[in-house]
C-alpha cells in the first residue's frame, strides 16, 4: 500500500513511471552486489548444514549462542551474520527439522532450537553430501593426495 501511495505522489510530481518502478529493484540489486563482493560466499550455501551440525553436537541452542559457537570454533574466520541466520533457522523450523521451546531467562524469553527426528536424518544426509563434496573438491584441487 505505501508503494502505491509513493507511486501516485511521484507521478503527480511528473516523474516517469518506468523510473519509479525501476527504483523498487535497487535493494535487491544491492543485495546481489553484496553477495558477489563478499569473500564468504563459499560458506553461504552450507549455512543450514552448519546450523544442523551445531545443534546435533550441542543439543538445544538459541540464535545468539549459535553465532558465538561458530565464531569460537573457527577462531573468528566464519562469522554468521544475523540477517542470514534467522531466515535459515525459520526455514528449517518450518520444514519440520527443528523444534522450538521457550524459556524465561533473566528478564526475557529465550527461544531454544533442537533437532527433531527428521532433523537428525537431514543432518546425516547433509553431512554425507558435504563429505562427498569435499572429496570431489580435493580431487580437483589437489590430485596427488587423492
Amino acid at each position: 500500500m505505501p508503494n502505491i501511495l509513493w507511486y501516485i505522489c511521484l507521478r503527480i510530481l511528473g516523474i516517469p513511471s518506468s523510473l519509479i518502478v525501476s527504483t523498487q529493484f535497487i535493494p535487491s540489486l544491492i543485495q546481489f552486489l553484496q553477495l558477489f563482493m563478499s569473500n564468504k560466499k563459499l560458506y553461504r550455501g552450507s549455512l543450514s548444514t552448519i546450523i544442523l551440525k551445531m545443534l546435533g553436537d550441542n543439543g538445544r541452542m538459541y540464535g545468539y549462542e549459535i553465532t558465538q559457537k561458530v565464531k569460537e570454533l573457527t577462531q573468528g574466520e566464519l562469522q554468521i551474520t544475523e540477517g542470514a541466520l534467522y531466515p535459515a533457522l525459520h526455514k528449517l523450523e518450518a520444514g519440520g527439522h527443528l523444534q522450538v521451546e521457550f524459556e524465561q531467562v533473566k528478564n526475557r524469553m529465550r527461544k531454544y532450537y533442537a533437532l527433531t527426528e527428521a532433523g537428525n536424518k537431514e543432518l546425516a544426509n547433509k553431512l554425507s553430501e558435504m563429505e562427498q563434496f569435499l572429496q570431489t573438491m580435493q580431487q580437483l584441487i589437489n590430485p596427488k593426495i587423492a
Binding site: 545468539y64 544475523e82 534467522y86 531466515p87 525459520h90 518450518a94 519440520g96 521457550f102 533473566k106 526475557r108
Partner: protein, 226 residues
C-alpha cells in the same frame, strides 16, 4: 556478566517495533539476541552506553536490518503449508476414499438431472457454498484476530487457507457462464462441488489443528514477556 533491566528489555521491544517487526513471535527472538549481544558488549567494555551497544549490534544485521526477516519467515511458513497440503492430498488418494468421493458425486449429478431448472439450481448451489465458506472464514478471522496480529505463523496459515478457498470458489463461477445444461457440464459441476466441499473442510481442519499446535507452544508466553 551485566544484566539488562526490565525497562531495557521493554526498550528493545519498542526498538524492534519501530523497525517494522510487528509480530511478537519474531520480536521475542530478536530481543533475546540483541540483549545477549549487548550484555556481552557492555561487560567487555564498561564505558559503552546501552544505546551505543544497541547501535553496534543492530549494525551487525547488515544494511537491511530486520527488514526482510518477517517476509522470509512468512515465505518459509507458506511454502511449508503448501507442502503439507500436497502431502495431505497424496495421502488422501487411497482407493476407498476415491471411491467414496465418486459416490458422493452421484447424488449431485442425479439432482441436476431431476430439478426443473438445473442452471438456476447450480447457481444457488454455488452461491450457497460460496457464502457458507466466506461466512465460516470470516467468523474464524474475527475469533483469531488477536492471534493473527500477535503471531506471524498464525497469520500466514490463516491467509494461505483463505487463498486456497478463494481458488476453489472463484473457479466455480466459470461454470455459471454457460447458457444450457449439458451432460459434461453436469459432470464437471458434480465433481467440482464435491471437491470444493472436501477441500474446504480439509483446509479448515488443517488450519484448526495447526493453530491449536501453535497456541499450545506459545501458551503463557505473552504474560511472561510483556
Amino acid at each position: 556478566m551485566k544484566e539488562l533491566s526490565k525497562s531495557d528489555i521493554q526498550q528493545l521491544f519498542d526498538f524492534t517495533q519501530q523497525h517494522r517487526v510487528r509480530h511478537l513471535d519474531v520480536q521475542i527472538e530478536l530481543v533475546d539476541h540483541l540483549a545477549s549481544a549487548i550484555e556481552v558488549k557492555i561487560t567487555q567494555n564498561p564505558n559503552l552506553s546501552f544505546q551505543e551497544a544497541l547501535d553496534q549490534t543492530y549494525a551487525e544485521f547488515g544494511i537491511f536490518g530486520f527488514g526482510k526477516l518477517e517476509q522470509e519467515k512468512q515465505d518459509a511458513v507458506e511454502k511449508q503449508i503448501l507442502r503439507n497440503v500436497r502431502n495431505y492430498v497424496q495421502s488422501f488418494l487411497t482407493p476407498p476414499r476415491i471411491f467414496l468421493t465418486l459416490l458422493a458425486m452421484l447424488p449431485v449429478y442425479q439432482l441436476l438431472n431431476q430439478v426443473p431448472n438445473p442452471l438456476l439450481f447450480t447457481r444457488m448451489l454455488f452461491g450457497g457454498l460460496f457464502f457458507a465458506g466466506i461466512f465460516v472464514y470470516y467468523y474464524w478471522l474475527i475469533v483469531k484476530r488477536k492471534m493473527m496480529r500477535t503471531y506471524l505463523e498464525v497469520k500466514t496459515i490463516i491467509s494461505t487457507v483463505g487463498h486456497v478457498l478463494i481458488f476453489f470458489h472463484v473457479a466455480l463461477t466459470f461454470c455459471l457462464q454457460e447458457e444450457t445444461m449439458t451432460r459434461p457440464l453436469a459432470v464437471i459441476i458434480a465433481v467440482w462441488t464435491v471437491l470444493s466441499i472436501v477441500a474446504t473442510i480439509g483446509m479448515f481442519q488443517y488450519a484448526y489443528f495447526s493453530v491449536k499446535k501453535i497456541e499450545e507452544r506459545y501458551v503463557g508466553m505473552v504474560n511472561l514477556s510483556i
